[in-house]
Every structure is written in structure tokens, then in C-alpha cells.
Subunit: 483 residues, 2 copies
């Protein structure tokens, strides 16, 4: 069976039993149903509860076996010791898939290990199981969301995500949400008693809705299978992995968390090199890679130009780029000469990086600079760093910040990119992190959002842009070598 | 003469001549005066302009020599070729110090090099000169601010800052502003024709208002003097340096920017190791180090505990800490046993990192956890990571986010720190970076601000907290070795 068919009831269940449902909206079993309904599940719900005849106005059943229709997906919320019996009933009913949200299994103690083993064995008899100790499935197209994910986007997108951690299972899509990153499916799969990282990777490989794969992982059940699979998948779709537990303390934490063996850092280093998967550390780096893969065409060369609004900015840009192997070739005398006729006579620089002399360049100057660079040198892309694009509420500086000029400077990078067909990257830093700058930050985010909507990647700092760009190019280099 | 006396007219001028003043508030020479008045300069202004008899209602003088009173500080805004003649007039008048904001000197061309050499020679005849090609002085106590710094804080603080770059001369205090970081003095000194990094370092060393020194530097005029000085200063006051131009492209950009020789990366590495100065890259790292030095007592050992709101969070925390040499020792059986009685029975972890099972722990549980850890193990500090402390506007989750519980959880870390007298560090990440999360971000910033006001360091991510902490401890290790 293809993975697509196999996982159809997982991501697009027509019927959904919730075992351990409750009438109380403050209890987990009540909140879960409320959340799914509010999220927009369009299939049929079957609450299961031994004692209640009705849950939120829906008929409830004492057991999953009493449900009068076929059941695609069961969500299991009962305490750990009761789970094996419930899974047995699901098997008897012919339920196709189950997600076990409950914790307290192999990550907990000997008894938990035994319970989880029972579940793994049962899965072989014909039900696919996600979990236990997880948040399960977020699939906007299927109308499913993870327990804390009521406010996640209802829009479907091209990113497939796996997270062994529930915490990152919610933090990843929430962080992504504001950056316009949309998911095809996200699965928090916890202890991986049945469905594991390999199954999900195979699914995303086949899934036409998924173009980019990312994930937070703690351990791998079958290293060899995962390695071979990743090599194959990364040739077709970018795979970005944040691997947790690569230090001693991290490995110890992994054991208490998902009972996985986390493996050694050197092994994983080699692993990433050989498979072409992109390694990241932390949420910020993960987001940056998604932004790059979503909004940039393939780039396999490293010649870039930086246009910045100040001399120090140019220095920092050059340092940040060259440190990670993104090169800023010196411009020809001819191009330098041309640029000297565009930028201010004093306090500017034209060799690459280009310093337009001020973070608020006049719109015609910014436009002429981009035109001159794109038409005067064969570069692989251009980074605009720290040119202010949004209104900032500083007292007394209204004359600096004409809205019209800002609006034009916001259009210029998109127009230049489209005119010359070359990648362009924006660095839009926060003004300051204090409460009194929240309004300015809101304006900055609005501008960043507009760029992202026009497929223009935006990064918060130069360092993050350069790091993401370098990893992005390495991915495409590796992919072009192996084909 | 002590540096304090020598720089008195620079930072606390009783009289201030502005040469190249203008009546037009849109011209630089007009804006500069407007900015200083609005910032709150309390001394006497003497605008100098050949053609105008009056500037903004103040009597103007054709030359600095025509001013009827002694002049402490002159700000020079006239075009580069006119600067040497103006400095000559300042010398004749007996002006004590001058800041030359004008650009177009040694960073520009041969003619600029010649002009700047003239200025350097003149300085030896008895005037201290800052610049050219700079933003000059920000000193809230003296009522002076740099040209784009009208909105900077009027409050004085304990951080002394030097910046060779004007762009970072404004970006550093602006970024710091929202984090409650206040400056004693900041000097953007550009091409350093006279006053250079050594003079300023000596000044800050003597200055009783300055407790921490930081800076962005591109080149050093006298490497040996700077090295010896830094060794001496770093033993008394932390010195944090962002050195620009350590790559080939960066060095090239430095040359166009402040005409400095930037030096090799290996040389600087050794330099930092031997002097005990703290090296950083970029604004974020610079801010993080200031936060650490402002709000933490000296720490010379590396045994820490992490308390986090989720299993994955704990894994990431352990990885982030151990990668930079901050250790998380496994707790004793006894302490683990005690914690098992406090955290939830399922989905938690007690070995260090401690996972309290949820990003929203009940207030008594968070309090009991901190009490148990602080009284049960001899650690050098504790990091609280990703426990939600501020209200987040997510639809339908009001029951999760009781304001009262949040307020109590905000008090608990401060109370625990004060009760046990041990350092405590908060990691408060942004929820998401999109425009629709601006309100939540405002709430988060408010909470972060409250922590900072209570001397509790706050970092945006685990990785940044761990990196800053590791550098902070290294500074104190080095300082305790050398004493």
C-alpha cells in the first residue's frame, strides 16, 4: 500500500472517535473536542465515555465498539494503564488509525515500558498508531489540530513537519504562523511506538502537498533505514532537521523525554554531510531555513552583493557573509565608477559591500543602486541590509521618515528582483526589544509580512541571513552533485 | 592631567559652539542644534554662521573667534575642505575640544588623507578632537546627544561605549534603550584623527560613572598600547568588544569606512584570550553581554540547573548549555525523589534539566520546584526556560492563561533568587514574529522589562542565554586567575 493511502485515515479522517471524551471544557477530554470543532473539523465526531450518554450535545458511546459506523481515526486520552485495552477495542472495531496523546509510557518507568510494548505489538495486527506521549496531528486540510493548536492557521501550505516533542510540535507552527509559513501536515509523534520518523518521511516524500520537510527529532529507531531514506528524500525535497540530545546532558534529557537513544554528535555530523539533509539548532535557525527554501530559487554559487545603509553595516555584512563562505567579490572599476555617480559623495562606499550612506536612502538612489549592481556584475544574489523600511515612532524625526519614500523603498527591491530575475534577500532588524518600541515593531512586522507575501525572504539579522543562505546554497550544491 | 579633567569639556561643556549652524531645520546644521536643545542641553549655545546674524532666535557669530565667552566644545559641521581653517580658528580662540561630524577625509581619497593629517597635527597644539567622519558624543548627564539620537534616553547609566561606526553608534544605544541599558557616555569617534580607542578606554577606566565598557571597533592605531591598556582595564571593569573587519571582505569594507587597518582574525583571537576582554559578534551578542554584566553577580563556576516547561525544551536547554561548557549535573536521588512529589506524575522530568510538564505550571508547583532545587543542590545558578509569563492573545485559550497565575509566576523567580541568594536567569522567547502577534509581543516585553528592572537577566532564546553565560563566566574566571 502506498503511504498516501495508508495515512489517508490519519490526516483526512471522515469519522473521528475521541476516547476519554468529557463534558467539562476544563478537562483535557472536553477541551480536545472543543478545540477540534472550533478548528473546523468537518467529519463526524464520536465521543466515547463510559458514564456520559451525551457530550456537548453529541451522542456518546460507552466503547468504541458501540459506534454504529466505521471509524477512521481514534484519539486516545485515557490514562496510560487503560490504553492497551482501548487499543484492543479499536482493533476489534476495525479502527484504521489512532493517536495516543497520553503520557506515562517508556519515558516514565518499567511499567510504562511494558505498556508501550503491548501497544507496539497490537499495532502489527492492523492499526497505525501515533504516539503515545505526543500531541498528534495538525492537518489544516483535514480539519485536525493538536491539543494546544486551536489558534493555528486554517490555511494549508507546503511544509511537512515531524516533531518528536509536543512542545516543539506547537512552538514550530506557532512561530511559523506569523512568518506566513503554512503546513501540509505536522505530526508530533512522541515515543514512536508504531509510526516513526521513517514512516513519516516516506509519507512526506510521496505527498504532493509537501514540498519542504522539517522536523525536531530526539532519536531514531532504525538508523540504517533512516539514513538510506533521507538520502533518497533529500534529493527530491529539502529536509531540515533539528536534532536534540547531541550533548551528554541533552542525551540524558532525551531519555526522560521520549525514551530515545540520541546518538553521538560526530555520527550525526557525518550523517548530515552524507545525506544532504540540512542541520539546524534551535527554532530560529529552523524558521530561517524554511524562509529560505520557501522564497528563494535554487542557488549553487556564492557570489553575492550587500547593499547597506551605513559603513559599519557594510563591515558587519561582509564579516557575516565571509565567515560562512558567502563571498562578496570586489566590483569592477567601471561599476564602482558608475556607483560613485549614484551614492552620496561623502560617507558612502562602492566596492561591495555598497554603503548608500544612510539607512534612509532617497528612493531614486536606492533604485539606481540596485539597477547598477544587477546590470553591472554577474552575482548570484543581493542582500539589502538594515535599510529602514518601516515608520518608526521616534519623537521629532518625522521629517526623516516620509511615508511616501518608505513605501517606494519597499517596492524597489521587489521590482529590481523581478526585473533582473536574481534572488534578493532582506535583512530587517528590530529597532529595539523594549515595550515602548512595540508599535515600531508592529510596523516592521507589517513590512516584513508584505515582503514575505511577495516571496521575498526576510531575516532579522545579518548573521542569521548569512548562515541560512550558506546552508541553503550547500543543500543545492550537494543536490546538484548527486544528480 | 587626568583623563577625567581632560575630557570634562568634551562630556560636560558649559559652552558649546556649533560651526556650520543653519536656520533651516531640514539642514544638518539646523537639525543638530534643534536636536541638542530638545535633548536638554543646559549650557550656552553659540551658533556660528558667516551669513546669518541669528539662528533659532540665538545670536549667531561669523567665526568662533567672535564668541565673547570661553568655549568648551565646538561641533564642526562644515564641508571637509573647510575644516582645517575652522580648527585653526578654534585653536586661536582657545576652544578645549571639538567634534568633527563631517565625513570625506581619509576614508575617501588622497585629498581627504591630507586634510585629516592637518587636523591631527593641529590637535597636538592643544585641542582634543573627536572624529572626523563620526556622530560624536552622547552623554545624557552632560545633555549631549549624537545627531540621530534625539529620542535616546535622558537617563544616565553605568555603561561606557565607544563606536568607530556612526551607524552602530546610534544602533547600540537604541537597541539598548528598550532593554533598560543606560549609558554614562557613548562616543562615535570615526577616523580617530586625535582621540582614539586608547584615550577613551583610559577615560572610562578612570570614570566613576562607568562600570562596564563596550564598543564596536574597526581598527586600532597603536596595537601595543591598546593591548597593555586593555589588560589593565579588563581586570577592573568588564570590556566587551565587537571587532568588525575580521574577514577579507570585512577588512575591505573597513578601509572604505574608517580608513582603518583591521588586523587578522587569529591575532585578535589571541588578543581577546590574553587581555580578558569579551569578544562578541553583532548587536544581539553585544546586548546579551551587557544584560549579563548588568544583572548578574560574578560567577566563576559552571554548575547550573535548567527548569523548563516541556521535555523538548529541557533537551534543547541541555544541548545549548553543554555546547558552550555550562554544565547541568545530574541531581542526587534524594532531590529527584523530592521533585517527583512536586511535578506532575506524567510528562515531567526531574534529573536536571527539570521539566515541570507544561509551559503553564501552577504557581505553587513552580515555587516548590525552585525551592527544592535551590535547597537541594549546590549550583551556581538556575535558568528558567520557556515558561510562559505573559498573556498571549490566542482565541479560545483564556482558561489556560489566568492573569493571576501569570502574575504569581512572574514573582516566583525573583522571590526564589532573593531567598536563596543564587543567580537566576530568564529565557522569554517571542511567541511569533508576525504582525498579528504584536500585541502578545508587547505583553512579553512588558514582563521582560519588569524582570530587568528587578535585576533579573532576560534573554530571547536559550542559545543566546547559554552563550552569554559562558562568556560571562569565562570573564570572571580569567579575572580571578589574574588577581
Amino acid at each position: 500500500m502506498s503511504k498516501l493511502a495508508e495515512f489517508e485515515p490519519v490526516f483526512f479522517p471522515k469519522t473521528h472517535a475521541v476516547i476519554g471524551a468529557s463534558n467539562s471544557p476544563t478537562k483535557f477530554g472536553g477541551r480536545f473536542i472543543k478545540t477540534q470543532i472550533s478548528f473546523g473539523y468537518k467529519g463526524k465526531f464520536f465521543p466515547v465515555n463510559k458514564d456520559e450518554p451525551e457530550i456537548f450535545g453529541m451522542k456518546a458511546y460507552p466503547s468504541v465498539r458501540d459506534i454504529p459506523e466505521p471509524v477512521d481515526l481514534a484519539t486516545i486520552l485515557v490514562p496510560a494503564p487503560a490504553v492497551p485495552a482501548v487499543v484492543e477495542e479499536c482493533l476489534q472495531k476495525g479502527v484504521k488509525a489512532a493517536q495516543i496523546i497520553t503520557a506515562g509510557f517508556s519515558e516514565r518507568d518499567e511499567e510504562g515500558i511494558r505498556l508501550e510494548k503491548d501497544i507496539s505489538e497490537m499495532a502489527k495486527r492492523g492499526i497505525r498508531i501515533i504516539g503515545p506521549n505526543c500531541f498528534g496531528i495538525y492537518c489544516p486540510k483535514g480539519g485536525l489540530t493538536i491539543p494546544p493548536g486551536e489558534s493555528l492557521s486554517r490555511e494549508s501550505g507546503s511544509v511537512g513537519c515531524i516533531s518528536q516533542s509536543g512542545g516543539y510540535g506547537i512552538r514550530i507552527p506557532r512561530r511559523a504562523d506569523g512568518l506566513g509559513i503554512r503546513f501540509s501536515k505536522l505530526v508530533s509523534y512522541g515515543n514512536a511506538s508504531d509510526v516513526n520518523e521513517c514512516d513519516l518521511l516516506e509519507y512526506f516524500y510521496e505527498d504532493p502537498d509537501t514540498k519542504i520537510i522539517c522536523g525536531y527529532m530526539e532519536g531514531v529507531r532504525n538508523g540504517h533505514r533512516f539514513f538510506e531514506l533521507l538520502k533518497k528524500v533529500a534529493k527530491e525535497k529539502p529536509v531540515i532537521i533539528w536534532k536534540g540530545g547531541l550533548t551528554e546532558g541533552g542525551a540524558r534529557a532525551v531519555k526522560s523525554h521520549t525514551a530515545s537513544l540520541s546518538g553521538q554528535a560526530q555520527v550525526w555530523d557525518a550523517f548530515f554531510k552524507q545525506t544532504g539533509a540540512v542541520a539546524v539548532n534551535g527554532l530560529d535557525e529552523l524558521m530561517d531555513m524554511l524562509i529560505a527554501f520557501l522564497h528563494l530559487p535554487p542557488i549553487t554559487d556564492r557570489k553575492f552583493c550587500v547593499v547597506g545603509g551605513g559603513g559599519g553595516i557594510g563591515v558587519a555584512a561582509a564579516d557575516a557573509c565571509e565567515r560562512v563562505g558567502v563571498n562578496l567579490p570586489v566590483f569592477s572599476r567601471e561599476l564602482q565608477q558608475k556607483l560613485l555617480g549614484i551614492v552620496p559623495a561623502q560617507g558612502a562606499s562602492v566596492r561591495n559591500p555598497v554603503d548608500v550612506g544612510s539607512p534612509f536612502p532617497a528612493p531614486p538612489m536606492l533604485k539606481a543602486t540596485l539597477d547598477a549592481v544587477f546590470s553591472g556584475v554577474d552575482i548570484d544574489g543581493l542582500i539589502i541590509s538594515e535599510i529602514e523600511m518601516s515608520a518608526v515612532s521616534r519623537p521629532g524625526q518625522a521629517d526623516f521618515m516620509r511615508m511616501e519614500a518608505l513605501a517606494q523603498n519597499q517596492r524597489t527591491p521587489v521590482e529590481a528582483r523581478d526585473k533582473f530575475g536574481k534572488p534578493l534577500i532582506m535583512v530587517l532588524p528590530e529597532e529595539s526589544n523594549g515595550p515602548e518600541y512595540t508599535e515600531s515593531e508592529g510596523a516592521r512586522r507589517q513590512v516584513a509580512d508584505n515582503f514575505l507575501k511577495q516571496n521575498m525572504p526576510v531575516f532579522l539579522t545579518l548573521e542569521r541571513a548569512a548562515t541560512a543562505l550558506s546552508r541553503f546554497i550547500r543543500y543545492w550544491e550537494k543536490r546538484s552533485e548527486s544528480q
